[in-house]
């Protein structure tokens, strides 16, 4: 009797899914933007987080379960950035095509070499990532590698539109390469400058620009600044003054403001990702804005 009830219940729920565009669930706005560039009209994209949210601190909330349930492709950063919520979403979604071994599961950071891979992984070091720094979208060269791998994934999932995806990839690649040339021209003067960062989410950018990171406002990754750490940082800053302080505009800037008041070193509030400011509505405009903000402060 009970089993019969369950059986009927299951039948009731068996409804076919309508498939039109490829549904893409991106964990962060940068990947949504990249999929939009590479997929164009053949994809319908959704980003689980906004530029004002810390992707470390998201919960597997109901709306996200509903979105993963319908996704054909999942595009996330990886390198443990979403470890606190993505595994749970995958298990709760009941969606077979985006599980870890499927073509519908794409991690951007796994496509490239990461920097800052810790030699020793211990929680006393803060919220460290054993697979290295996950903030890979701030290296324009790595973005080219990721774009190519992502386009191949779209082609595998939606073979009907292989030609279109290839076309969009070559368009993206050539636009991006042109942009890189301009950016490198624009930021020549930054080489050798010194920066203080709030969190290590600018490492790839600063490496590319040739800017040296001389301190972190967070004592350890993911740990809010303490008075003791800030006063130590102040001593270091006085001994070797950096050119600017970088902070994402979703991060708490109290510590940075304090340092700024003590030393006069300019704080640059940056959109961390697409949607982080009015101008930054795509990947190219995001880079444009961030690089302009940095270069205009240092001139």
């Amino acid at each position: 009797m009970r089993l019969l009830a369950i059986f009927c219940f299951s039948l009731l729920l068996f409804t076919p899914d309508a498939i039109a565009k490829i549904n893409v669930f991106a964990c962060e706005p940068e990947w949504k933007a990249l999929v939009d560039d590479l997929g164009g009209e053949y994809v319908k994209t959704y980003s689980a987080t906004t530029a004002y949210q810390d992707p470390h601190h998201i919960e597997a909330r109901p709306s996200l379960i509903a979105k993963t349930r319908r996704a054909d492709l999942l595009v996330c950063t990886g390198a443990e950035l979403e470890v606190g919520w993505l595994p749970l979403l995958l298990r709760q979604s009941g969606n077979a095509v985006i599980q870890e071994d499927q073509p519908g599961y794409f991690l951007a950071a796994s496509q490239v070499e990461r920097i800052e891979i810790p030699v020793e992984v211990d929680r006393s070091q803060g919220d460290v990532h054993a697979s290295g720094n996950p903030h890979v979208h701030w290296d324009p060269y790595r973005m080219l590698v990721i774009a190519e791998a992502l386009s191949q994934r779209l082609q595998a999932i939606d073979p009907e539109h292989v030609l279109e995806y290839k076309q969009q990839l070559s368009q993206f690649t050539s636009d991006w390469k042109n942009a890189i040339r301009q950016w490198e021209e624009q930021t020549k003067g930054l080489q050798g400058k010194k920066a203080i960062v709030y969190h290590k989410n600018w490492s790839y950018l600063l490496n590319w620009l040739g800017v040296e990171t001389v301190g972190d406002i967070e004592p350890k990754p993911g740990v809010p600044p303490t008075a003791g750490h800030l006063s130590k940082l102040l001593e270091a800053v006085r001994a070797q003054p950096p050119d600017f302080i970088l902070i994402a505009n979703y991060q708490d800037d109290k510590g940075a403001q304090w340092l700024h008041q003590k030393t006069g070193i300019p704080i640059i509030h940056l959109p961390y990702t697409v949607g982080g400011s009015e101008q930054a509505d795509g990947l190219v405009s995001l880079y444009n804005e961030v690089l302009t903000l940095i270069t205009s402060t240092t001139q």
Binding site: I6, T50, P62, S63, A66, R123, D127, R181, E184, G222
Partner: protein, 413 residues
């Protein structure tokens, strides 16, 4: 200089990529270790009376109050992993030290499908039922040092049983999911039965976002079981009533509940400040033949009870790492006792000793403050005032630590 860099960077990166893949391609015996996480929970409690009595409610399972003085709570060891491409498995044990004895309790041990698709998932084994909101969330992830009274009174802590669970997520924009469970039905508030498959549960959940800063979830659930024998008596007061035997025979129980959660964080960024409101309401109907034996004396009666309870709570993180919370618990019972017959025990005594006699409505006020220097550690101070309905007020203060070691646990909504 930079143009040359650009020209060589791409092929180099591709090379790095290949080199990286090669370096991780080593063969070693521990590559497939599952995720292991350990929760350490310890506390100091200042409490007048740690015996939990709630008139009108027969307690079972782990219902109880914390011991006075120092105690360790549920130290939980949890091991989980994808078994292969089709199954996920998880085991959670609680290591409890009480009365100079160490006990290992199996909290959960289940497998779950990964690849059914179309929104379906099947789970089998021993698991925390999907009913309610807090029921499937382990105690260390609760916002107070003790469970809401309604969970202790209705489910003996959590409804946890062995069986199979089916879940389905609808392919809709608004989250909607349904679940059902067939379980032994022998765990409290059910009881021993011949079929060992008498537990049946249904639950439905829906939820969504309101703008970018808020989200909510609403759930409804139902549980039923029928049983031959149910022994009453919670964790808290087993010892002194060893000579007493409190049984419900040939019983039926069903519980209906609704739950609601609302969360707010500015711009959806919960790191610095956030607010959480949650409330759950349960109604339990049960009947059976009550038999109470103490030494040579016996009493029996027909019992038909209707019990209700709810809690509401709000948690506010007012600055990074610091949260305050308030909670209100309320219970009420309306029990019908008929055909009483006693041998050496009168009706009043029977009503009190069996837990079936109703008095005033039990209620409790709690406030808490907690501090989490990192994602993995939490220290909590809680004050509660419990009025158990006997005109006895029980005040208690708890200082608790909850620490999480090992793999990074996921956050359910």
């Amino acid at each position: 200089m930079k143009v040359t860099l650009f020209a060589v960077a791409l092929p180099l990166l591709t090379l790095f990529n290949a080199a990286h893949a090669e370096s991780t391609g080593k063969i070693s015996g521990n590559e497939f270790n599952p995720a292991i996480s350990l929760i350490l929970d310890g506390r100091y409690t200042d409490i007048d009376n740690s015996e939990l009595e709630l008139p009108g409610f027969q307690l079972g399972g782990e219902a109880g109050l914390p011991d006075d003085g120092f105690s360790t709570g549920h130290n939980e060891l949890s091991i989980s992993a994808n078994i292969d491409d089709k199954f996920y498995g998880s085991l959670t044990t609680a290591i409890v030290y009480e009365d100079s004895e160490t006990e290992v309790e199996l909290e959960e041990a289940y497998i779950e499908t990964l690849k059914l698709g179309r929104g379906f998932t099947i789970r089998g084994g021993k698991f925390f039922s999907g009913i309610g909101y807090l029921n499937s969330i382990h105690d260390h992830a609760h916002d107070f040092a003790d469970r809401p009274l309604v969970y202790d009174a209705m489910f003996g802590g959590h409804l946890v049983d062995t069986g199979v669970q089916f879940r389905w997520v609808a392919p809709t924009d608004r989250y909607f999911s349904l679940g059902t469970e067939v379980t032994t039905g022998s765990e409290f508030p059910g009881g021993d039965n011949d079929d060992n498959a008498n537990g049946l549960a249904f639950f439905a959940k829906t939820g969504g976002d309101i703008g970018v800063s808020s989200s909510w979830q609403l759930g409804a659930s139902y549980y039923q079981s029928d049983f031959d024998v149910r022994e009453a008596g919670g964790h808290g007061h087993g010892d002194e009533e060893e000579s007493a035997d409190n049984e419900l025979l040939d019983g039926d129980v069903d519980v209906f509940g609704i739950d609601f959660v609302y969360k707010w964080a500015p711009q959806g960024n919960s790191k610095n400040t956030n607010f959480k409101f949650q409330a759950e309401y349960f109604v339990k109907n049960e009947d059976g033949f009550s038999e109470f034996t103490e030494d040579e004396n016996t009493a029996e009666a027909d019992y038909d009870g209707k019990q209700k309870g709810f809690y509401v709570q709000g948690i506010y993180q007012f600055r990074p790492a610091w949260r305050i919370g308030v909670r209100y618990d309320h219970l009420e019972a309306d029990n019908d006792i008929t055909n009483f017959s006693g041998n050496g025990i009168d009706q009043d005594e029977f009503l009190e000793e069996s837990g079936l006699g109703t008095e005033d409505d039990p209620n409790r006020y709690s406030v808490m403050l907690d501090y989490s220097p990192s994602h993995f550690s939490r220290l909590r101070l809680q004050y509660s005032q419990l009025d158990n309905g006997h005109d006895e007020t029980n005040d208690y203060v708890m200082l608790q630590y909850i620490m999480s070691l090992g793999s990074h646990g996921a956050h359910t909504f």
